[in-house]
Assembly symmetry: C2
Homo-oligomer: 436 residues x 2
């Protein structure tokens, strides 16, 4: 006989946990109709039991011990939304070992321990879902695993961190400094008191690790992802980029070419016509290029209680359908072999550079000679007078290996006339034809 109720236990009832619970409550009838069965949250563990929550906990046995959830034999699915990796890891592996299916939004956990977790889940015949770990409620993990599974993914490029996108939007639109924009993001609750994880790109690295694991069907190590944050981006760079027809975004980029991967998180210029360029404020988007589908993009809110709750509930429904039809493990998590990752110095990019030089004859010639000798070809150059006898030069190069560019820069930095190399930002999808 078909099971008519699926029992859920939550570990953690913070923003995301309460969001998911709110979605389950608000859309209860709708979900029951779609599923043909009931979802019932019977147990939850929270750090502080007495703390008031914005959603009713009626019918839920709440305790302070996550193991009471993990060990409850009546639960079908454990929803881990407690955050952190130490305790969460124990709970998630514990649940899987007890034959429970798991839904988690824990990006650090999946990015760092996904490989062992997926192997364990496969062995135990349970499902692990983590749609909410990347880009909030935007469906991206499932489409990559399912609708787009007939494609070999060639490239993905995402704006996956709302905090940095908000800051860059503020800097661009209101001419704010990085520091002021960060303070405003904090005041609005878009940035943490300690914003390092977002600002320096760690958060985006975790998300890229997850996305590329799924897209390329291969295990990815967080350490293999090149990382640069946005704290070095200046308002001047956003202004120059705009003049040249570009936006600056913190991008999570993964490419796959002839068995070799490129994995990197860094600020980048993208043409204003690119679909990602219009993604502003705290919105997220993931651009995917497949060898059949061509270019597709997924856009939406990358965080928040209800959007992430939507992803959690979508995952719960997915697993519930597998339980009801006796087909858990229906979509394998990762089947493919490991793949080599290209070292950053061998990556080929275009570069935007901003330098301050002494304003006197021969400067351009000196710099150009070095660039030519190191085979760095310039697509575009702009010079303008700056303060007291100096000039600011902005260049955009044609695609060149990072190694060559670094070598040229090291020599240029030695020139007497060069006061400072202010900015070095990569350019994705360099415009061809008319520039600026």
């Amino acid at each position: 006989m078909r099971k008519q109720t699926i029992n859920l236990g939550f570990i953690g009832l913070g923003t995301v946990g309460c969001g998911a619970l709110e979605v389950l409550r608000r859309n209860e009838e709708h979900i029951a109709q779609r599923l043909g069965a009931r979802l019932q949250v019977t147990r939850a563990a929270v750090r502080r039991v007495e703390k008031p929550r914005p959603v009713s906990l009626e019918g839920i046995a709440v305790s302070a011990d996550g193991w009471e959830v993990v060990n409850d034999p009546h639960l079908d699915i454990v929803v881990e939304v407690v955050g952190g990796v130490v305790a969460a890891r124990e709970f998630v592996f514990g649940a899987v070992r007890r034959g429970k299916h798991v839904v988690t939004t824990n990006k650090e956990l999946i990015a760092k321990y996904g490989r062992e977790l997926f192997a364990e889940a496969r062995e135990r015949g349970v499902d692990v879902c983590f749609e909410g770990s990347v880009a909030g409620g935007i469906p991206i993990i499932h489409p990559l695993r399912e609708s787009l599974a007939g494609n070999q993914i060639q490239e993905l490029m995402g704006i996956v961190n709302g905090t940095t996108n908000y800051i860059l939007t503020k800097m661009k639109r209101e001419g704010m400094s990085f520091e002021d924009a960060l303070r405003e993001a904090q005041a609005r609750g878009y940035a943490e008191a300690n914003p390092t994880d977002d600002i320096e790109g760690h958060d985006a690295v975790y998300k890229l690790a997850i996305l590329s694991t799924i897209a390329f069907d291969t295990p990815i190590r967080v350490e293999d992802i090149y990382r640069e944050g946005i704290s070095q981006v200046a308002v001047e760079d956003l202004r120059y980029a705009d003049e040249l027809g570009y936006e600056i975004k913190l991008l999570a980029i993964a490419k796959h070419e002839q068995g070799v991967l490129e994995l990197r998180v860094h600020p980048a210029l993208i043409p204003q016509e690119h679909p990602l360029a219009a993604v502003s404020e705290v919105f997220n988007a993931i651009f995917v290029r497949g060898n059949a589908v061509g270019d597709v993009m997924f856009y939406g809110q990358g965080a928040g209680a209800l959007p992430t709750g939507s992803a959690v509930v979508g995952d719960i429904l997915d697993i519930a359908r597998n339980i009801l039809h006796g087909c858990t493990g229906r979509v394998p998590l990762v089947n493919g072999p490991e793949r080599p990752v290209r070292p950053m110095e061998e990556v080929t990019c275009s570069y935007y550079l901003r330098t301050r030089v002494t304003d006197r004859p021969g400067v351009l010639a000196a710099i150009s000679t070095i660039l030519g000798e190191e085979r760095v070809s310039v697509a575009l150059m702009r010079q303008q007078l700056a303060e007291a006898g100096t000039a600011e030069i902005v260049w955009v190069t044609h695609p060149v290996q990072e190694r060559n560019l670094r070598r040229a820069l090291a020599r240029i930095e030695q020139l007497d006339v060069v006061r400072e190399i202010n900015s070095l930002i990569r350019v994705e999808a360099l415009k061809t034809g008319k520039a600026g």
Copy 2:
């Protein structure tokens, strides 16, 4: 024992059929690895057997009779990509009645006969998938049925017809007339020799019927969808819209409010900041608002051999996974009850209007009086001199019931001073605050 090969038969090897076959061939190893089984096309039916195809038919028994595919007892899945509804309907129902799963891209078939087809499929315990029937390779049917299934969808708005989007893009960017832009679309293969289905919105109506059936989990009748094409949109309207900060797009719109649906396809002004506004050329995008996820958008190529082939292969993989795990029918197609559809005269919209009037005192007063009497409130008005003693007036109204607007227009048309009402285009997501 687990079945290791899934046998496929194709009915139709035109653009989409060959595209799907090309995807299966090109990504054969990749797909086998993802699926853990082989997909094998063993039979195909085409109108003209001797016609050369752009993809190898090696290993495929080709005949001119679709029934040879439908009746082949060795096939697991029938892929119907023959187009049209008369024969296709017989084949698809025939396959389902013989216990075969079906993948189809036939939007007209699903829009018109989906209801009976889904009932038949449910009874026979087979899967019917049709991701490629809407927006080519963009994953939208599966995300609506699965990742977003925890949401009550409140609204969806799509640019789902590439032909009309291309024409509007050309008119806007190059100031072409509708007729010239249509001719260019035909020359490029983006419009058919007989373009009526695209231009007049029939194609978009079929797609909206499918999208809203899935989004609102309810059967939809094509006849209940209001339809207007783009042949009345003038270059002047695109120019005025641009001055006011809007784009004009052919939109497929569905809303759900308190159990009542609104379903309409027509050209509409949308603010330039709206994510759909940047969707140009032949690209498609579908914007979805859920009561948990908020706003999400899916963007990509809405047509073409390989993009649509990607959708077909994604569907094949989905069904193959169900076959391998013995869980066909895992995601029900439509479970919900029928819902009433609001008649168009009761729909509330903002409107953009362009009229030609005699340039003399009192004209505005006469028009404004009628508008006031019919409770049509004006958000914005612009008047400018036109040829020989006439003036052109452009208004944008605040939201008003269509019935009231129509009544006001009928009276305004009677005024001596009104030469012509040139354009009447609805406005979605009217800008508030500063206009123009």
